[in-house]
Each structure stands twice: as C-alpha cells, then as structure tokens.
C-alpha cells in the first residue's frame, strides 16, 4: 500500500504539545514579500488618514484664520498648518511603528508575515518582549540605509538575521505548516492530517479526483442544493476504494465525503504545482 504525500508535511518543524514549532530561518524573498504586504496595508491606512487630515486641516485652518482677523491672520494660518502637518507626520510614524511592534509583540507575526508562514522568535529561549520588538523595529532605519546593510547581514549571517535581529536577539522563522494552513478548502489542515493518518489512504487517480471535485465543489464548498441524494452514496462507494478506514467505530458519511473532497483537492493541486 503506497502512502501519498498530498501536502508537504511539516517536516521543517517539530510538534510540542500540539503546537507546530519551526526553527528554519525564513528565506529572504518571503520576508521581502511579507514586508511589502505590510507596507501595502500601512499605505492604505495612511491614504485614508491623508484624506481625513486634508479635510480636517483645511477646516481648522479656515477656522483659525477666521478667529485671528487682521494683521496676525497670515502668521496664525501658517502656524496652524505647520502644526497640523507636524501632528499628522507624528501620527503616521506612530502608526507605522505601532503596527509592527503591536503585532510582533502580541502574536509574533504581522498580517503580512502570517500569509507567508513567518514568525519572529526570540533567541533567548523566552517569549518576545515588547522591548525586543521595539528595538528591531527601530533598526529598520539602519537596515534600509543607502547600501542596504540589512540585506548583507541577512546574506552573511548563518541564521539570516538582519541588523535589527542581531541587536534584539531575534530570528524570523518559516513554518510550512503555518503557511499551508490557508490552502485547505473543505476541512481544517489539522483535521485533514489527523484523518489522513488515522485512515489508510491510497493514491487517488487524477481523473477521478477531478470528477469528484466537479461534484463536490458546488455542494460542499458553495453550499448549493443537492438534487440527487443517491449521488452521495455512489461517491461514498468510490471514496472507499481509496480511503480505508479501519476500526469498529462508525464513520459519519459527511466527514468521509468532505475528507475525500479535500484529498482530491490536494491531489489535483499537487499535480498542478509540479507542472512548470
């Protein structure tokens, strides 16, 4: 009986008390992409802030000008505008740094890092402290200076750390398990891996996988109404050719069929991924 490798297993990490832990340094291109996603989010919010600030700034400048009529008007107006600009700049900077420090200290990853399965961990063996996050965040300015010392540091150090990581004693790791969590359509990744281990599974031929997906996608993914309930029994019979549950406890039909759908989905995706 051949076993299949529909998903690349979490071979890069170990499981401690049900939590996948990885200590593989993250590849640079993934970190770059994650950072650009984060910057896109920050930029979106800053765009919104610019619009609000332009309206509020214009109104308040007009208000100030109306208050100080006469000789001081021009001076007061320009002072008001400079004041608003300064406050606005501070708000943008606070948001930019607050975003990274908040997410990294609270969860260990920003939304962008989460998409690519990256996580910041401390090399000291304890939880990340807010101080460490703040330090590595502030070092971004040094890392992004003219000749990109951060890039060279990442290329040269063994654990692919930039200067901010070296200063704060942190490391960015990549976990395949975390990254592929969003690639599961019909069940959660952990459930899928659990059933795949529990039930003996053999390779599903591609044509059958595709035919089953054509049936399963509207019913299980989009939730469209099923016309012919006999099809469920028919596909159950088919699925038992490739999934061999053993043991006395009864199995729910829906669990079997959704698991088979996920298995077919992963099989088809894997075959498409191998193609150039």
């Amino acid at each position: 009986m051949q076993s299949i490798s529909a998903v690349s297993e979490a071979s890069d990490g170990a499981i401690y008390e049900g939590v996948h832990v990885s200590l593989v340094p993250a590849p640079i291109w993934k970190r770059t992409l994650a950072y650009s996603v984060d910057m896109a989010i920050v930029t979106c919010v800053i765009y919104a802030l610019v619009i609000v600030a332009a309206i509020a700034g214009g109104l308040s400048a007009a208000f100030v000008a109306a208050l100080i009529k006469g000789t001081g008007a021009g001076k007061g107006l320009s002072f008001g505008i400079i004041f608003i600009m300064a406050v606005f700049l501070l708000v943008i900077l606070a948001f930019y740094h607050g975003y990274f420090v908040y997410y990294e200290s609270k969860k260990g990853f920003t939304p962008g890092k989460k998409l690519f399965g990256l996580q910041v961990v401390s090399l000291k063996g304890s939880r990340l402290t807010t101080g460490q996050c703040f330090l590595r965040d502030m070092m971004r300015y040094v890392d992004a200076m003219m000749i990109l010392p951060g890039l060279f540091a990442m290329l040269l150090t063994e654990k692919s750390q930039r200067l901010g990581d070296l200063m704060a004693g942190t490391l960015v790791v990549h976990s395949q398990h975390q990254e592929s969590a969003s690639n599961f359509l019909y069940m959660k990744q952990d459930d899928y891996l659990y059933y795949r281990e529990k039930w003996n599974v053999t390779i599903v031929p591609l044509d059958i996988a595709r035919r089953y997906l054509e049936f399963a996608y509207p019913v299980f993914c989009q939730g469209l109404e099923l016309r012919d309930y006999n099809l469920l029994d028919q596909w159950q019979q088919v699925s038992l050719n490739y999934v061999h549950p053993s043991g006395p406890e009864p199995i729910e039909q829906m669990t079997l069929l959704t698991f088979f759908a996920e298995l077919c989905f992963q099989t088809v995706q894997e075959s498409q991924r191998r193609k150039p």
Binding site: L185, Y217, Q222, Q269
Partner: protein, 179 residues
Amino acid sequence: MSDPLIPPPVQMNQTPPTIVRTTVGVPRANKPGGFWRRFLAHFVDGIIISIALLPITFGARIIAALISGHQTGVAVGVTVLAMLIQWGAQAIAIYFYYGYFYSTKGATPGKMLLSMKVLSSETGTYLTYGQTFLREFVGKVILGALTLGIGYIVAGFREDKKGLHDIVFKTQVIVQEQQ
C-alpha cells in the same frame, strides 16, 4: 479499464466500515466575495504591484524626458514608447504576480488578508497561469476598460457576486471561514 464508479468487490478479510448518515459534519457553505471586500483587496494588490513597478515606470519616464529634450516630435514618439513599455511591464507583472499566487495559494496577498479565494467554478480548483492571465488581463484590464468599469459593478448586484471577468472566464470568488 473498468468504470471507476463501479466499486471493486469487497475483500472478505477486511470488515467494511460502518458508515452512518447524519447531518453532523456538513461543511458550512462559503459565501461569494462581495464587491467592497474585493475592492479593498484589489487596492492592496495594486499598491504592491505599483511598488514593484516603480523603478520601471519612473525610469522609463525619466529616460524618455532625457532623450527627447526640447524636440516636440521626438518627445511624442518617445513618450508613446515609454507608455508601451510601461503597459508591457504591467502585463508581465500581472502574469507572474497573479499567476503565482492564484495557482499556488488561490489568492493574492490582498485577497488572503481578507480571507478570500479565487476558484474555477467549473472544476473547483485553483486557476492556472493561463486562466489567471485571461481573467486578470483580458477580463479586467481590457474588458473592464471597454465596458467603462461596468463589468466590475455587475459583481455588486448579482447573487453569486460574479463580475464580467468572472462570468466570461468561469471563475468564482469565495470568502473562506477563518481558520
């Protein structure tokens, strides 16, 4: 080869599993992705692509300006050429960015942030590079321009939230439950 739908005979040494029919374990349906959600995702993707293309757009314009100098005829020609280069770069960027993310993860970063996925509504799988290019470039850039953006707005009013590019190239955007 025999019809795959006909099961092989049950092996006698193996007891067949008991299977019960219950409504437990029925997967919840994924809703189609709505207009504003997709708009926001598109915004994020647009920023990422524009950051990536910044050197090319900027460089092409600067070089065009340097070459043309004060001659009007040359300036027009070179500017048109620079714009063509920009469009070409945009098409290539769309092909690789959307193609890579749609075929491996089913969603671009913008869509992933808002937990959406693009699937082929015929086969229920992720799109391939070719399908992605048809949907993103032919469907969105060309058809979208030809229909003055009405192709996008259609998505807001349909029950399955399909825009013109989804209808023509048979794709569907779904909102995935948080995992």
